[in-house]
Symmetry: C2
Subunit: 342 residues, 2 copies
């Protein structure tokens, strides 16, 4: 079976964006904020938005299940305050929950958090708990830079983040480290900010000793780990200069990379440099890069093709990347699949 | 012949750092700023600092010439104002000039600029001109983020930078896009900020149409282009979605990547994905990663080994990477070598 651990609800019905626009306008003083009940999206609308898009492509590509979270670029934690973020996260998570109920064999939820720059991360705990215990979500997305490209929060090894980590360990869920829209003109959202955040997160985790405090904590670094696998020698060398243990010990017991790398040479490097046990299949389809690669005539984000074709993975390794690593890193997904007899 | 286009004077005599410390302390109100004449470093001291370090390793590794600029992490353009930066840049550039005079066959200079956050880049022109016309420097280092990790300057395609670009075109010199120390705790200087800046610069150049205004402008993106070659499919796809020309046309007529990637798989990817005409040999030795790789028993930064060993380069390609590309991208270096009969 093939599990895609990185999907966002980028195709939600337009009513969602309309509601958000009214919420944002109200922050600026234009009109009253919308009530939650003002957002009406029927099951049929949800079904259609998924069947015509993610589910169609999953069937075409032979992907059995996607871990599905709210649209990353729409999280926009820099907008408004923690209460704005709380309302918005709650609404977005509920939609992903409904998708996972409508298509229980094809989608499992992961939560966006109601983060807000400078606000205690303990304010995120209730939403995490709700999503996991009531919605059956199997993971969360953690934004290391809720300011949207100004990087005003402490590094990931800082105690600022510990309330989230304690909850992750208690509930036995991993976090994907994923930023949102950049509001810094220097950083293109999907071309610079996303990739930089991945690289930054890896280096922060090398600098700190977070996993001494949380040996069970698990992070997924999306987009193939940013620049880290390409510069793996640099990171091994920097860790050595800092007198850290080997990265296999210091990092790879707790940190995993997804396969959202949109060409064959990139996947070849990832699978050569990073142990197969640390790679999780993902495509982030209908996401950052939606076109057809003129060099291959296939979609850039059809990462299954690259993983199938790479010479660096044995058949056993490929099974790990496609399925068993995901079941290990996301035990609640494994439980859900097992309950379904899969 | 082998030209290393990326070397910094990381081993300057301690008196330099002492002078800088006094200069920085004076900004904070501690004591009077030092006079330029207070810095006294003899030719013998310079000679020794080079012979025991860079020159020794160049000989060991068979590198004939290094393009040599002031220590990147010491540029620290965020400290003080434009006058502080001007004094500091002038002093650092002069030392590199003296090294290039003491070892004219082994070093050619590249200038650090007297940048300061928010200050008109026209203030850099006189120093560029001085370094090129009086010192015989062959290039410059341009810091896209003089704030040191807060990214408060406009993107590289903005007219803010045009005074520098006009001077580069007039003098026919390229710029290496190189940041300095990070003063943002999120970004480790050499592990995150440097690599992120490379990735960011590539994406800024994809977003803009700078080379329409400056068809002759040339940038070198250090550290193997940050994350860009690893994610080349992503960048090709993003450019396509933005209706830009193919990257071969939109970017690669003007943008070059160095080989400061500290393991074999990284160099294999770089040389497979990026045309040989756009790759310049470099090691940034005695720089960010100075240790011995326990997996190879050789220094991480001995990049000649990786370039020699990669299967992706033909003998002709390797000559381009080691020598002829550098002579083409840095015509003033070519002129200098030609005048030396090389």
């Amino acid at each position: 079976m093939i599990i895609d651990i990185h999907g966002h609800y980028t195709t939600a019905p337009e009513a969602l964006e309309g509601w958000r626009n009214r919420q944002v306008a109200a922050i600026g003083g234009s009109g009253a904020p919308p009530a939650r009940a003002d957002l009406r999206i029927s099951d049929d609308e949800l079904r259609q938005s998924i069947e015509a898009n993610q589910l169609r492509q999953m069937r075409e590509r032979g992907i059995d299940l996607t871990i599905f979270s709210p649209r990353a670029s729409f999280m926009a934690h820099h907008i408004g305050d923690q209460f704005v973020s709380a309302e918005w996260a709650s609404i977005c998570n509920e939609l992903c929950f409904r998708v996972s109920e409508l298509f229980p064999h094809h989608f499992a939820g992961a939560a966006m958090l109601p983060q807000s720059p400078g606000v205690d991360t303990a304010t995120c705990v209730a939403e995490i708990r709700r999503c996991v215990t009531e919605y059956g979500f199997v993971g969360i997305n953690l934004n290391p830079d809720p300011s949207g490209g100004h990087w005003t929060s402490p590094p990931l090894y800082d105690r600022y983040w510990y309330p989230v980590y304690e909850t992750m360990v208690e509930l036995d869920i991993p976090a994907m480290v994923h930023v949102s829209t950049s509001c810094n003109a220097c950083f293109h959202t999907t071309g610079a900010h996303y990739i930089n955040a991945d690289t930054t997160a890896v280096m922060q985790l090398i600098e700190g000793d977070l996993f001494r405090d949380f040996p069970q904590l698990r992070f997924v670094i999306p987009h193939g780990g940013g620049a880290a696998p390409y510069h793996w020698g640099r990171y091994r060398g920097l860790a050595q200069a800092m007198k850290k243990p080997l990265l296999s010990e210091h990092l790879l017991r707790n940190v995993f990379f997804d396969t959202c790398v949109y060409h064959q040479p990139g996947i070849d490097l990832l699978t050569k440099v990073i142990p197969a046990a640390n790679i999780l299949f993902a495509s982030e389809m209908i996401g950052a890069v939606r076109g057809i690669d003129p060099e291959t005539s296939h979609p850039f984000d059809d990462t299954r093709r690259y993983v199938d074709a790479t010479a660096s993975l044995s058949p056993d390794d490929r099974t790990k990347v496609f399925e068993t690593n995901a079941r290990r890193v996301y035990p609640r997904l494994d439980a859900r699949l097992t309950a379904q007899g899969r």
